[in-house]
Each structure stands twice: as C-alpha cells, then as structure tokens.
Amino acid sequence: MGKKLDLSKLTDEEAKHVWEVVQRDFDLRRKEEERLEGLKGKIKKESSQRELLADSAHLNETHCARCLQPYRLLVTPKRQCLDCHLFTCQDCSHAHPEEQGWLCDPCHLARVVKIGSVEWYHKHLRARFKRFGSAKVIRSLCGRLQGAGSPDSARSLPDTHSGPEPS
C-alpha cells in the first residue's frame, strides 16, 4: 500500500496528462479549503456581534440578532433558531433542511462549514491510508517527470493527516 506505484507503462505524454489532471484536482481542493476558511471568518465576525447581544438579552425581544433591525409587528415576524434559540428576522434565517423550523444565518453557516469539512470522511480515510490517492500518484510521477511541474506543488502534497480539517 505504502510503496510507490509502478507507472513505467505510461508514456511520457500519458504521464504528463495524469500530472495535469491531478494538479487541477489540487487546485480545486485548495479553493474549497479557502472557501470554508472564508465562511469560518464570517461566522467569527458574527459571533462577536452576538456577544454584545447576550449582554442585553432583552434587546433580542425587539431586534433581530443578526441585522439588529427592530421587528415591525407582522411585517417582519421573528423566528427562533433551533440551534442557538436567538430570534432573527425573516431575511436572516433559513429553513432547517430536515426539521420543522428555522436556523439563523450564523448557525446555518456553521452547519455548512461543519458538513462541508467532511470530517467523517477524513477520519475514515486516515484510518485506512496515509495519503490521498492523488498525492500518491504525484509522488510516483515525480521521478518520471523531473522539472515537469513546479516544485512548489510537489512540496505541498497533502497527506490525509493534513487534510482540510479544522485545526
């Protein structure tokens, strides 16, 4: 399992194709990690605003926990979040995908990040393998294609232990 793949049957042309596909895959993975990081940042920003609100609990009776707009009776009904139990306005809430009820924007985002970081998948993967398949292939190709790819990408080969996990 851990040993290098025998890629001697590939022609140079074929090896180059595989290399390029795997690089595209890495790029996509990196973009996804950045996206999740961005979402995490957004959540953090919002949570500091909420602390302020927690200090004055009565404020949430009359104002949306997210946009801080006052609820005008009936025009913008308030909705209680299933996760954090704060109230938000209609524009700042999402329907819960499974349960009857609502999630406020930050809790919805937190859910996206949590689901999107697929920790369960990485846990399984780590239990079975040392590195991603694409990383293994690139390692095996490195000898074949000296100078073909940037040394940069070879250095940052992801192994399954440094996946897009929350640190």
Partner: protein, 178 residues
Amino acid sequence: MTDGDYDYLIKLLALGDSGVGKTTFLYRYTDNKFNPKFITTVGIDFREKRVNYLLCFLGRFRSLTTAFFRDAMGFLLMFDLTSQQSFLNVRNWMSQLQANAYCENPDIVLIGNKADLPDQREVNERQARDLADKYGIPYFETSAATGQNVEKAVETLLDLIMKRMEQCVEKTQVPDTV
C-alpha cells in the same frame, strides 16, 4: 455562495471496464452532449458541474486508477448493457472498491449504460437488479447517447452522500457550534 441552497464540494468517481461509457456519461451529465467517438481516458480525468460536484472518471492503467478510489465520496459503478463481460467484471470492481475506497461500504450506484441499443443487449435487467440487490445499492439503466436516466442516477448518488453528510453532523451536533 451559500445564499439560497447549500454548496458542497462532492467528489464522485465513475469506474468500470474500458469502453462502458464513463467519460461519455459524465460529459452528458455536465454538458448535455454526446460524442460518439471513442477516445480512451488515460488514467484519470475530471469535470466539474455547478462548481460543487467534482466528477472523475477513470480510464486505463488499473494500478494507477485504484489509487484514486480513496479520494472520492461516492461511486458510479458502470457496465455496458451490450457487453456481458463488462457485467461479469462488476464483481471485481466491487471488491477493488471495498479494498481501496475511504471505507468498506461507501455510497455506490450501479449503472447499466447504453440502454439505447436494445438489439445488442447482452445483460437483462433481472440479472443486473439481482446483483444490485445483493449489494444493497440502487440500479439504473442509462444511455449517455439519449440522456435517459443519466441525471437521475447521479442525483440519487448525490442524495445518498448528502444524507450521510447530514447524519454525521447530526450525530456530533454540539449546541454551540460557532
């Protein structure tokens, strides 16, 4: 990006004998087009759809391609309805999957492709359904040429994966996730 609906990067992988139609099938799914010319895939290739799905398809070089199994969350296990041999090989692919995927029972959909060629058919639906039932996975008969069932098969697999993703979060849900 997360406005409206959820947006997840889900990686699917199509596997099966050479020529069963993996490349053509996924090309149909992403671009709704059909290319009758056969250009074998070297090792691996992929296409993206709506940015959130990554669709990989494997080609020749078994030793190379099995390494990619573990990178995917779900699998389109394909055979050619006009080739008995490609159907017989489904068992081999299945055991390769169980040994090389991220876990022993990943989400899989069995696909009999080229349903638009009934005159050349070598595998009957009963046979294929029995096998799928044995594995406990859904079965679809598709045609990359006409598009029949292509979307349905992929969406079914995505649904299975989404269910798994949601369940895994529900199970570990802590009230203060922020």
